[in-house]
């Protein structure tokens, strides 16, 4: 699967509805932050192997899920587009 993201957080560029997004974290951040562009976000823990598993939010296909680590302008961002489940 095509991978995307800057050094810091890597994962797929698309994810199916109802699926899971598995990301690799290249820093020591204890969690990844997931949002859809608003103020609200959900945090998912990063395991000791520096991986995190994120359930795809219930959103329409075409929506981008914004996965990030860090804060401020040091934040690393991965955008994952939700696609229809085959």
């Amino acid at each position: 699967m095509r991978q995307g993201g800057r050094p810091g957080v890597r994962g797929p560029t698309t994810a199916p509805q109802g699926g899971t997004i598995d990301v690799e974290v290249g820093t020591n951040d204890p969690f990844v932050e997931v949002s859809l562009g608003g103020e609200e976000s959900t945090r998912y823990p990063v395991d000791p192997a520096k991986k995190a598993s994120i359930p795809v939010p219930p959103v329409p296909p075409g929506t981008l899920v914004i996965i990030s680590i860090g804060t401020g302008l040091r934040r690393k961002v991965l955008l994952v587009e939700v696609v229809e489940d085959d």
Binding site: E33, S35, L36, G37, G38, E39, S41, G62, T63, L64, I66, S68, T71, G72, L73, R75, K76, V77, L79, E81
Partner: protein, 159 residues
């Protein structure tokens, strides 16, 4: 020998529906009207598409907030060249929406990004940045919604 005339029926010539002069005048009026409407639409579209100019008073009053990160976000939003802002657009959009959603100055950067991707088809990762900008704009605090109303349909048009 006798020659008898033969008459062949030809179709009756159709009279022109409009005199040549009236047709010329009509076309002239249509041309001028089209030109006026086209110019008005072009002007309106151009005005709507222009990046919202940064308020000079805002940049002059960009005082330190005590938060170095927010100061840098604000600088990018209103003072940095657009190329610099676009290089960190994804990070900027995520940071403003998650951390500084109530900061008026920071939000001006979101408007600049929206304007840039709309007006620059050659922008790198244009469709992706347009989409994330659209999501941020659609979920902006209600106080900011008016700033984006003009951009939302245009961002949606970018594929």
């Amino acid at each position: 020998m006798r020659l008898d005339p033969i008459f062949v029926l030809a179709p009756r010539p159709k009279p022109p529906s409009m005199s040549t002069r009236r047709a010329f005048v009509g076309m002239g009026i249509a041309f001028v009207t089209g030109g006026v409407i086209g110019s008005a639409c072009g002007y309106a579209a151009g005005r709507a598409g222009q990046a919202k100019p940064v308020d000079a008073s805002t940049t002059e009053e960009l005082q330190p907030t005590g938060n170095a990160d927010l100061d840098e976000v604000r600088r990018l939003a209103v003072k940095a060249p657009i190329e610099e802002l676009m290089r960190v657009a994804e990070t900027f959009l995520a940071t403003v929406s998650l951390q500084y959603a109530r900061d008026e100055v920071a939000w001006q950067g979101v408007v600049r990004i929206a304007a840039y991707v709309v007006e620059h088809p050659e922008a790198a990762n244009r469709a992706r940045i347009a989409k994330v900008t659209l999501q941020v704009a659609e979920r902006a605090p209600s106080i900011r919604q008016d700033d984006y109303a003009v951009w939302i349909p245009r961002l949606k048009g970018i594929k």
